[in-house]
Each structure stands twice: as structure tokens, then as C-alpha cells.
Amino acid sequence: MSEKKDIRQGTLALMILKTLEAMGPLHAYGIARRIEQISGNTLAVQYGTIYPLLLKLEQEGHVASDWTSSENNRRAKYYRITRSGRKQLEIEASTWQETNAVVARFLSLGKENA
């Protein structure tokens, strides 16, 4: 457990949106599970932390939710991405990539000098 990495909230929100965009409507457990799987089990997601985050995204209008029956006829709350959620995902993804590129360039600075 200890070698698994914690993730920041903003990043987690981005991941949730991306997951919903890629996988379609999902319940909270499904989302958490998916994120873990995609990260190759390197990220430790406390499933509990995802609920306040989903609520926040819902308040912001990026996701919407419905109670529906799941695979084995169990009632569950399903979240899906909204149009504004997609837009937000686009913006945040590009911001993330830009930041990434800049940070990467900085980190490569030392190597060139060496």
C-alpha cells in the first residue's frame, strides 16, 4: 500500500471526467475501480473520497446522476458526463498537457548541462 501514490483532488476530478467520457455512465464504485485499473493499480483511491468530488462536479454541472438498476438488478446511482463536463474536460486536459510539457522541459534542463 505504501508505495501507491495519492492523487490530488483536481487531478482526480479530471480522471473522473475522462473515465465517464470514455466508459459512459458509471456508478461511483465503478469509476473508482476504473481509475485504479487504468493506473495499473499504482494509484490508491479511497473509494470514499470520490463521493464529495462527484457531488462537486454535479454542483458545477459537469456530471449528472440518476438512480437506475445495474447489471444484477441492483439499484445504483449512475453518473454521466454532461456537455459542459466535456468542455471542461477538454480545457483541463489541454491545460494539463501544457503544464506537463513545461515541467518536462524544466526537468530536462539539468541533463543538458551535465
Partner: protein
Amino acid sequence: MRHLRVFVRRLTGLFGRNRRDRELAEEIASNLELHIADNLRSGMSAGEARRQAMIKLGGVEATKEAYRDQRGLPVFDALLQDIRYGLRGLRRSPGFAFTAVVTLALGIGATTAIFSAVYALLIHPLPYYDPDRLVWVTEERSGAGGAVAEPDMVAWRERGRPFESVAAYALDEYTLAGAGDSMRLEGALVSANFLSLLGVMPQIGRDLAPADDRPGSAAVALLSDALWRERFNADPRVVGMTLNLDSAAYTVIGVLPPRFRFPEMGRAPQVLLALRAPGSSIFNVQAPGVMLQVVARVRPQDSLSRVQEELQSFQEARRRLYPARLARTAEGRMVVVPLQRHLAGDSRKPLIVLLTAVGLVLLIACANVANLQLVRAAARRHEAAVRGALGGTRMRLARQSLTESMLLSGIAAAAGLAVGTFAIDVIRGWRSPALPWLASAGLDPYVFAFTMGITIVAAVLFGAAPAITGSRANLMDAMKTSTLSGMRHQGPLRNTLVAGEIALALVLLIASGLLVRSFLDLMRVDPGYDPKNVLTASIQLPTEEFAGPAGVSREYTPALAFASQALPQLKALPSVRYAALAQRLPVQQNHSSLTLVWLGPAMPPREAWLKLRTPLVGVTPDFFRAMSTPIVQGRTFNDDDDARSPGVAIVNRAFARQFFSGGALGKQFHSMAAELCASCAPGKPTDLLVVGVVADIHQQGVDRPAEPEIYVPFAQSPRGNFHVVLTSNGNPGALSASLRSTIFALDHHAPVYDIATLEQRLSESLAQRRLTMFLLSAFATLALLLAAVGVYGVISYTVVQRTQEIGIRVAMGATQPSVLRLVVGQQARLILLGSAAGLALAFALSGVMSSLLYGVKARDFTTFAVSWVLLIMVALLAGAAPALRATRADPCVALRNE
């Protein structure tokens, strides 16, 4: 846009919390089931599947808390929670809540009421243009009341210094005749610039013009709004109509605005007439001088003291140029006071004392609440520590504590508003012509906000201090020690607060004690008459019957005829024992005049006149019997003392002392007093024989000394304006209707006015003293009560705090008395310290009180001693219950307490 939406959603998230909580629980549960199902599928045992799922989920409660914070507005949510919690806490300790609320409410309420009254009288700007620059000017002479001679006023006006402008007025009374009953009016002669100097415009018609002010110009009048409505049905065509005042015709030129306030305390003249004085700065020795009251406007850059100095030196130089006959011996001192202060009159000093008193009460209330908060905070230290241990942040705990203080203050403020409204009603209910400003006192919202602010700051300050130290409390310490033995370090602060309360309460107690003693002394003063069952009124005979240049003899006939007709008829009224006429009666406006009295053969020089001027009162024979004024020596007047008999006089004891060093009976003095007697002629000095000496009547009120007076038979010195005195067997008030109708039947042009019983008048003359005494005593009682609450709180807290220690002592063999000594010892130290400070403070402040006292010294030993003993007794009593509780401490219980 997005933020707004989020905010609205979160705001709605504040409500329906139960439903939303349920929904979250359901969501988590359903997801948990899914997770468990997955785990089962991957081959775990049922128990392991659930365990792993739970681990993965993390703390459910923390999740729910985070979820709730996200759902609503955490700050707001916490506030609601704090308020709920605070209310629950207050409900749980009703004693604390009740005491704090009552203390604060009384403090806020009483302070607001008095501040409002003070504001109305002393601070609220006068309804004039730029009122701060208005001053009232007078010349203070020993003996005579302040007034300014007309030529002096004109001289200041002509010079343009030290005032920007100067106006004058003189109050008078007039009989208004015409349609309807004749009516006695209050009126004032005013200079033409009087209204414009004040910045007041008539609501209809025009202001006085300089042309109206010259002697001999057409007589014009301005009506007050009240008279206009009452007598003329608010008819605007009144302008241009003719008014019959004292048999002279005046043309109405305008009506004053409804809210016009005449710049004289308690006076509301119904007509303003042009002064029509000579308007010259040179004294005319032949013409009688006109004495005036002066209002002036100072220039913005001039200070009051500078104006006064300049005026004084100008007057001193000017007096040297007075005609020799007018050169005054007693040089008057010029006094310039702000108009506002002049209008506050005698009420200013008592109000300032009351204001100080109520400020002290507020201070005590604040100290009390602070103390209660401190005790409470100490008691809750344990709770704070536990909450800290469970994850409550220091901010959160402090906020909780603050919310509770605010809640308390809020409730107290509402109650305080009620108390204040009630107190204002009580004060206003005093409704007295002697204190006209009372009517204008109202609960001032700014004042209320101000006092509330002070108390809330106090409550919060003292609520917050323990909250902060409380939240900083070392968790381990607080948990380790018992609930109450911690926080000992707050002892000194608490003790200081209570000692301070005791000191302030003692100061108030002493002040009210002094006033009560003064009042009791006043009640014991023999006024020189018995006000019981006496009805008095004023009558003005129509002046037209006196008219005519050679009217000297004609002037007296109507008055004499009236007296001889009216008195038998009045006396014949049912239940009337005595009926008399008098030119002067105690505690009311007098119709008497001053006369010069001397003993030697020659008239004394002018320099000595001031001391020799003596009030002269014409009375009918039954006057002294009607007033129950004792005849000390000699006889009273009888019907034979008339125009054909020798001039006689009755003098009071003060006169006998001053002029004859006691033995006045049978002596003679010279005066111009009598006009009709065997040997006298109007305007010529006569010898009067003293036929009697009567007790001193305190004419200006029982709190003023009686002055020398001469009584002469009404028949030898008749006047058209006098009082009627009726003494009845029963309720004198019932006589007023028959008095009116009797006089009306005799002469329907003679207005009867100002009817009241002598008892009412006497009581009114003491209204201000009584009100001050009543309020100050109320405040002192309040202060004493609050201090007692403070002592009780601290002692009972200490007792609870030391329960364990006392238990151990008892277990070790301490007797009840020794335990009592222990507790009372602490209490006694507190009380002695506090009361010593109080005595010192009262001693230092005694100068403030001296002008309000009668008969007692401001540092009266008895009052100080009695107040001190009373305070100590009450304070000891307040601590007695908890002290006794301590002696009954059961060691087992006490030790188990830990």
C-alpha cells in the same frame, strides 16, 4: 455564472439534510454491495469480501462529513449548528442564561432610556438655523433675575461686536377678547429680527419687519400654530384680521410654523408682538427702562469665552458713561451661554448625574456578564478539551463560544428594547409642566444601537477570551484534572471584576442615599402654609376699565368692586371654608411687585436700593386663614383696613429679622407700598405700621429660602391681576367649575386661568428632584442587585471549584465553622476591597452631587456609613447560600467528584 449556480445549489443543499443524508448512505451502501459482489466473484470468502470492500471505502463518517461540507455552505452550516448548540446549551443552564439576559437587558434598557432623554434635552440640535452659534446673553446681578437693559442690547447690535446679530424678547401675558370667551394668553414681545436670527419663517403671512418695531408704528401680531388651530380653526384668512389684546387692536400678519419652539424652557407664547422699544443705545432717564432677554448669534470663528470676555470689557467701559442716576452699584457680570444649555435649564445637572449613574450600571452589567462567561468557560474547559480531542479545530471551538455570546446578547438586546421602551414610558409618564422636555424623550434608535453595541462587545470580549484560552487548553492537562479545578488563573480577573462592581454599586448607593436624605429633609421643611384642600387660580380684570391717563383712582375701583362682590359669593359656595385674593402665591407665577422699604426719614440713595427692594403682596383679610399661615405676633387684616384707615402692613419673619432684628410689631417703616389709605397718595412714600408678623412662606419652593416680604391689605393696594385662594372642606379640585362660573357671572371679560390645587403645584415644584431621586434610587437598587449577583456567582463558583479541597479538609477534621471562615474570608476580602474603593470614589466624586442636594453635605457621614453597611449586608447575604453549601460538603461526595 458558474459560481452563482454552485452557490445556489449549495444554498439549497442546506435544507432537506435528512433526505440527502439518507440518499448518500444508500448510494454508499449500494456501491459497497457491488464491490462485495465483485470480491466474491474473485473468490474471497464472504467475510473477507466485506472486509476488503470496507477497507477500500475508507472512513464512512469522514466521507459523510466531507460530503456534507461539499453539499452545503460549511460556514453557514456550522453557524446554524452553533446556534442550535448554543440554544441547547443555554436551555441546559437556564440559571446562567436567565441571569445573563436579565442583567444585560436591564443594563441596555436603562441606559438607552436615560441616554435618550439626555439626547433629547442636551444633544439633539435645536430646531433653528445653525443652532450651535446661538447663545443666550444675560447680566447676572445679585438678587434680581438676569435681564439686559434695552439700550445695552442696542449698543451691542450697533457695534457689531462681539455678536454677529442680536435679538431680544420679553415674556408677558395678555387677555384676548372678541368672539368667544375672554382668554388669557402667554405672549412675548420680540425684536423684529427675532425670527430671522433663529432662522424661522412664518408658515403663512410675513415675518416682522424693522418698520413694525419702531415706537408708534402699527401694532402687529404673529400667532402660534396652536392658537391658530384652537381659536381660528386654522383659517388662512386670519392674516389681516384684527386681534383684541388687552383692549388694544393688533393686526395679524402671520402664523408661526407648527414646530416652532420658543427659546425659553417650558414657555410657548401664543402670540408674538413687535417690541416697539426706543431702539437707542442712549439711556433715557425720563422713560422707564425696558428690560429684555437676549439671544444672539456669534460669528463662526469666535469662541464662547472670547465673546464673553469682549462683552464684559465693553460693558465695563460703557457703564462709566451711564447717566449718574443709572450708574449701578452692583456691577453685573455678563454671561454668555449656548442656547441649548439655557433651554435645558435646571434639568442639565441632574441629567448628567443620572447619565453617569446609568453608565455605571451598564458597566456593572457588563462586568457581571463577563464574569458569568468566565465562570461558564471554566466549567466547560473539559468539554472544550474533549471536543478538541475529537478533532474540533481551535477556530471552530472559539467560533462556537462566540456564537453563544452573540446569541445571548441578541436575546438580551430584544429584552433590553422592551425594558428601554418601558423605562421611557415610566419617565415620560412623569409628565410635568416643570419638566416639559420629558414629553420629547423617545427611545432613540441610535442610542439603542450604541448601548447594545457596548454590551455585545463586552459579552463577546469576555466570551471570546475564555474561548481562545479554552481552545488552546492543553488537552492532556484538561483531561487529567477534574472539570473544575483548572482555570484557577482566571481567579484574579474575576475577583477584580466583582470588586469593581461592588465599588460602583456603593458609589450609586451613596449618591441615591444623599438624594433621598435631601428629599426627606425637604419634606420636613415647613413651607409656611398648608397646601391641603386649597385651590388657586389667577384672574385678570379687563384692562379697558383701567384705561385713561387720569386713571389712577379709576384703576382701583374695578378691582375693589370685584373683590367686594366676588369674595362673599365664593365663600358662599358649598364646602368653601375661606376665600381670599392675593397678589402672590407660593410656587406659581406671581402678580406682586417690588417696593422700596426704608426706616429713616429720608429716602436712601440709589446705591442701597438693591437691598431694600422687597416683594409687596396685597391680600384680603382671610388670606392667612385660607393658607393656614400662622400669625406669629399681632393681628391679621380685617375689613376695616381700607382706603379710609391708616396704612398698615404685616411682615414675615425674614423681614422682621432683616429690618428690625426681630421686634417688628408696632414699628413703622417708610415705603411706596400702599396707594389707598388715610394718609397716603399714589407715588408718594407713606408710613406703614406693622400690625402683625407671620411665618415665612417659601414662595419659590421649599428648597429655596424664604425672602423678606410685606403684606398689605388688598383694599389699600388693589391690582387688576391677582390669585384667588379657596380653602375647601373636601376635594378642592371639585371647586374649579363653580369658581369659573361664579367669576364669569360677575364679569365675563375677566379670564380665570391657571387653576390647580396648591398640593399639585407644590408637588410639581419638586417634580425634578423627585424624578432624579426616583431614577437614581432605581439605578442604585439595580446596581446593588447586579453586584449581589456578581458576588453570588463568584462565591458559588469558588465553592464548587474547591469542593474537593473542602472535602479533604472536612475529612481531615475541619469543623463547619472553620470551613465557613474559609469561604467567608475570601468573600470578605472581596467585599472590603471593593467597598473601600467605592468609598474613595464616592468621596472623590462628591462635588458632582453637591448642587443637587438640600440640607445634607455631599460627604455626609451618615449616608456614607449607612450605604456601606447596607452594601456589605447585601453582599454577604449574596454569598451566604454558597458558603453554607460548602459547610455541608460531604467528604465522600467531594472526593468522588474527582
